[in-house]
Symmetry: C2
Subunit: 142 residues, 2 copies
Amino acid sequence: MASKELQVLEDYIVQNKLKITKQRRAVLNAFLECEKHVSAEELYNQVTLTDPKVGLATVYRTLALLTQSGLAADLDFGDGQKRYEHTYMHSHHDHMICTECGKIIEFNHPLIEKFQEEVASRNGFTITSHKLDMFGLCSECR
Amino acid sequence: MASKELQVLEDYIVQNKLKITKQRRAVLNAFLECEKHVSAEELYNQVTLTDPKVGLATVYRTLALLTQSGLAADLDFGDGQKRYEHTYMHSHHDHMICTECGKIIEFNHPLIEKFQEEVASRNGFTITSHKLDMFGLCSECR
DNA sequence: GTTGCTGCAAAGTGTTTGCACCCTG
DNA sequence: CAGGGTGCAAACACTTTGCAGCAAC
């Protein structure tokens, strides 16, 4: 089955005169199967389950491609490695990160967004992206 | 002159049976003179202007000390290196980061904080810290 | 067949650590 | 004078890059 995401990636690839390869498909598929916030290493482990010969460098290179084509976005929760999340057909959200168990709760609050815009325009600032991370303890770790 | 910050650092050092050294004083002083969001490297360059023999490792180690004693906090603007900001006698604030010129505007919006608390408690989440970074263009770069 | 892609290993980047010597308390 | 602190260099963790062969168009 050709997912919508594969379509997006191939469109991007064709438009930029790049090439569609099975490694790129494999990384994309693994990414789509992965849970929300994967690191490059985790994705690499996932990919090599089905395609053992794919290299870590290719995973990094393909993640860059996914980011450029709008399918993924990189996050930094301050643990020393970038994490990637799905962005295609996913609306913006922020994160609560449990510092005990690592659980991540996603949320979105329209009023927070609204006040962000307000404070930005008051400073003549044009927002292109933002991120709000709240660190603490989830209900189970409290 | 013995700044309040020096007092805080020395208190922390004494309480933890550590030792006050001229390197630690030098790093603290350089940190206090620095603008808001310094990287370890920048601070190292600053320190070595007056104390050429201080090593980069000592700067890192002292920054850890400053963080533990509550004088500094580390930030991550996603540029691949940690930055440190003053926290002593500074209230919490968030950041607008101009992706063009690197300018950082600090702000605080009580209502944003309030809604953060609200959304957290609704999820049974206890916030210990949070950060909100907005990326975009400042008034001069627009 | 041209040009981009891959895997590998090597190089980079920012940060941490091991160690012998030094200095504070 | 004991035990932590320092500078140096090596080690680290994660990511990027150079290159020769390979595959897509």
